[in-house]
């Protein structure tokens, strides 16, 4: 984990430590600074991770690149994701690594170091089938799937809808909150609340400008900051539905789980990746093409049929419960 960066992975990290302690384990978190720019720096980052020396530890549970390279004889990986720009994102030309000889050397170094780290691990879990598939496709490494549970389900109890659609999670172009704002033009009367920390000031500015540009600023509420868990839960519990449109997400996504825990339907798009493992169109939510017009149509339907929306939400809660994602069982697996 990286200091001063906060997202789903960091939430998971915090709650993993908390739940390990609750299980009677003396657990410490380990965060190191990390940057991926320029790409050349990635080698130095791997070197730093690889040169770390631990002691007085029985088991290391490693989550992310490059810290999972820390040498330790009893290491279990719970792989959230590798450095995807050296793998699948490279294939779709979304990598920060230059497409030249040096870039290829860096990629080769990352893959070799990854393979060493994987081969040293006692067991490897991944957070989603797509992560497991990537690990197998690119590294030839088998893994078990261990989906992260919701961290604080007691907060997401659901409640009466106040009629707005809520977009949660980190705010950036990959999470595509902008598409929801564009969709509002095609969904007259629908209100949108965007609540979450922007990756940068420009991400926030862009959304605000876009709302004005689209003429929907009176129907969008921006809460562009890191909300407390209680604040966030309140927004979710009072929402009509939660919209979550990440591009090719690995896992269900916390936004999805929080919504379903609160019995709220999820609106997503057909290229959202692991979100689609639990959000089924017409069963637990609405799935449309990543297009403002289609999204606008979906927003209209959700708002026009609140009872149906609530039913989708309840089905979502059941789907989440049937996945049996709890911290005690997760911790047990990681310690076994």
């Amino acid at each position: 984990m990286v200091p001063f960066v906060h997202g789903g992975a960091e939430e998971l990290y915090i709650h993993l430590i908390r739940n390990l302690r609750q299980a009677g384990v003396d657990a410490e978190g380990m965060r190191i600074p990390f940057t991926w720019e320029p790409a050349e720096r990635l080698i130095d980052e791997m070197l730093i991770a690889r040169r770390l020396r631990l002691y007085n530890v029985d088991r290391v549970i490693a989550l992310k690149f490059p810290l999972y390279m820390v040498p330790w004889p009893d290491k279990v990986l719970w792989l959230l994701h590798q450095y995807r720009q050296a793998y699948d994102l490279l294939d779709v030309k979304q990598s920060n690594i230059p497409d030249d000889d040096r870039g290829r050397e860096i990629i080769s170094a990352i893959r070799k170091a990854d393979n060493t780290a994987f081969s040293e691990s006692r067991h490897i879990y991944t957070n989603a089938p797509i992560t497991a598939k990537r690990l197998w496709d690119y590294n030839g490494v088998q893994s078990g799937i261990l989906r992260p549970p919701l961290n604080d389900p007691e907060l997401f109890l659901g409640g009466q809808s106040s009629g707005y659609v809520l977009a949660t999670g980190r705010v950036n172009s990959a999470k595509r909150q902008f598409m929801l704002i564009q969709a509002l033009r095609h969904a007259p009367g629908v209100r949108l609340v965007v609540a979450g920390p922007p990756d940068s000031a420009s991400d926030a500015d862009y959304l605000r400008q876009l709302a004005i540009q689209e003429g929907v600023e009176d129907r969008v509420t921006f809460e562009l900051r890191l909300l407390s868990r209680q604040e966030l839960a309140q927004r979710v519990n009072e929402a009509l539905a939660v919209a979550y449109l990440p591009f090719d997400e690995d896992s269900f996504g916390y936004c999805t789980m929080e919504a379903f825990c609160a019995a709220k339907p999820v609106l997503t798009v057909s290229d959202s990746g692991g979100v689609l493992d639990i959000v089924r169109d017409g069963q637990t939510g609405v799935v449309v093409a990543p297009d403002p017009e289609d999204l606008g149509s979906a927003l209209r339907q959700l708002a026009a049929r609140p009872a149906h929306s609530a039913a989708l939400g309840r089905a979502g809660r059941e789907a989440l419960e049937s996945a049996r994602l709890t911290w005690p069982t997760t911790v047990e697996k990681l310690l076994s």
Binding site: E40, I43, D44, M46, L47, R50, R51, R102, E105, S108, A109, I110, K112, A113, T116
Partner: protein
């Protein structure tokens, strides 16, 4: 000063003249309280040659792994010479150990070739040559082996070895700069250690000049030129007799004998390899020593030391380590003009016995003083102490590099170069601190 635990990696048999020199230095180090353990580095059949007496334990380097060697010794000193059978077991240890290299030869292609016989053959050798000296150093259609002079000039492989050492010792200035350019650590120039044995004085037989060439009868010893010098002079033809004291190949013996017949010189005497006692005994009848060499393939010459210590006038070719003898102590022949110059000197000798004897006496006094093992150890110890002092820095560097290489990165990778640059700057800071501690005087 702390007494060092020294791993003395060297051939250790009586056939190796490097072993003799190494033995003299090891004895002096031990006399000063350092713990010297001989790590034999002979390969193949030479491993079984009987050991010479040692001032401490003797074992073969193959009997200890890198970790053990690192743990057991403060510093490892490796004697590097151009004969695989005597030095071959040292080569695989360069990657894992910090070795202070004592470079006895400039041309080390023979050593590397011997190693390559078991590690990839000519293909690997060609790759190493190009890696060391650039792609243009060896064309695809060019034979690997060319005459030794060109080889020594173009691709002696000295640099391949010096890059792998942590500090280096040269025995003469003529190749020290090459080591300074490539060895990552300090380089010292120390006159070759030489303990003058009790050698018989030159004979007082008027009207005769017996000339000796000592060592393996290689082409670079200019024996053919010496024969021609003798044959070309009516004064010398009858007076001079030439002995080759050392190993020879039959082909070379025939070639040299044929030349002697053609120029009507006296037939040559070939003794074959002799031990030291026989060598010294052979000198009883010798008036003049010949240390002509072209090209110069060695760092310093034990034969030259012996010749000067024997108190006999000595012919040398005026280049390499042979040119580093002060004026007025040897008979210097111009490279490429050895025959003509040697003829003139030999003719001069026949009429200038007293001047020649005085010159030889000056050289004898000089060589015994300058080349003593004590003087050698005086120069070697500061180098070893510095290597020991810098060991933590080097080990950290090695460790970081090895981690980067587990990522599959090559030596030339920018990431390794960045790490090297960081360590180099730390080294410079250390050097400055050392200099400051010594009151601003650089070592």
């Amino acid at each position: 000063m702390k007494h060092l635990r020294i791993g003395w990696a060297t051939p250790w048999n009586e056939r190796s003249s490097i072993a003799t020199r190494a033995s003299e230095v090891a004895t002096e180090l031990a006399r000063r309280g350092h713990l010297v353990t001989v790590l034999r580095i002979e390969a193949e059949g030479a491993r079984d040659l009987p050991p010479i007496p040692a001032p401490g334990y003797v074992m073969h380097i193959d009997d200890m792994c890198d970790n053990t060697l690192r743990r057991e010794f403060d510093v490892i000193v490796g004697q590097i010479g151009n004969y695989y059978d005597f030095h071959g077991a040292l080569i695989p240890r360069f990657d894992g150990l910090d070795i202070v290299g004592i470079f006895h030869d400039v041309l080390l292609a023979g050593l590397l070739t011997g190693w390559a016989r078991h590690h990839g053959g000519e293909v690997e050798l060609r790759r190493i040559v190009r890696q060391t000296y650039g792609a243009g150093s060896l064309a695809d259609d060019e034979p690997l082996w060319i005459d030794s002079g060109s080889l020594a000039q173009r691709r002696p492989m000295l640099e391949w070895f010096s890059k792998r050492t942590v500090a280096a010792v040269a025995h003469a200035e003529h190749y020290a700069e090459r080591l300074r350019r490539t060895c990552p650590g300090p380089v010292a120039v120390l006159p070759l250690s030489f303990v003058a044995p009790h050698l018989p004085p030159p004979p007082a037989t008027p009207g005769v000049e017996n000339i000796a060439v000592i060592g393996h009868a290689n082409a670079n010893k200019c024996i053919d030129k010496l024969i021609m010098a003798i044959g070309a002079s009516p004064i010398l033809r009858d007076r001079c007799r030439l002995s080759v004291i050392g190993q020879f190949e039959e082909e070379e013996r025939c070639r040299l004998s044929d030349i002697a017949t053609i120029v009507r010189a006296h037939p040559l005497v070939f003794t074959g390899w002799v031990d030291d006692d026989k060598l010294y005994d052979s000198l009883r009848n010798i008036h003049v020593m010949s240390c002509l060499r072209n090209p110069v393939l060695e760092g310093a010459s034990g034969s030259l030391m012996l010749a000067l210590a024997s108190g006999r006038p000595t012919l040398v070719t005026d280049h390499g380590c042979y040119a580093e003898v002060p004026p007025g102590m040897v008979l210097p022949c111009r490279p490429g003009h050895e025959a003509l110059d040697a003829m003139r000197y030999l003719e001069w000798l026949s009429g200038a016995r007293q001047e020649a004897a005085a010159m030889a006496a000056r050289a004898q006094e000089w060589v015994i003083r300058r080349h003593s093992p004590a003087a050698y150890v005086d120069g070697l110890l500061p180098l070893l102490e510095r290597v020991v002092e810098e060991r933590p820095w080097r080990e950290a560097r090695r460790s970081i590099r090895s981690t980067l290489m587990t990522f599959g990165l090559q030596d030339s990778d920018p990431a390794l170069q960045r790490a090297d640059a960081a360590f180099d700057s730390l080294g410079k800071i250390r050097a400055r601190e050392r200099c400051d501690a010594m009151g601003g005087q650089s070592r």
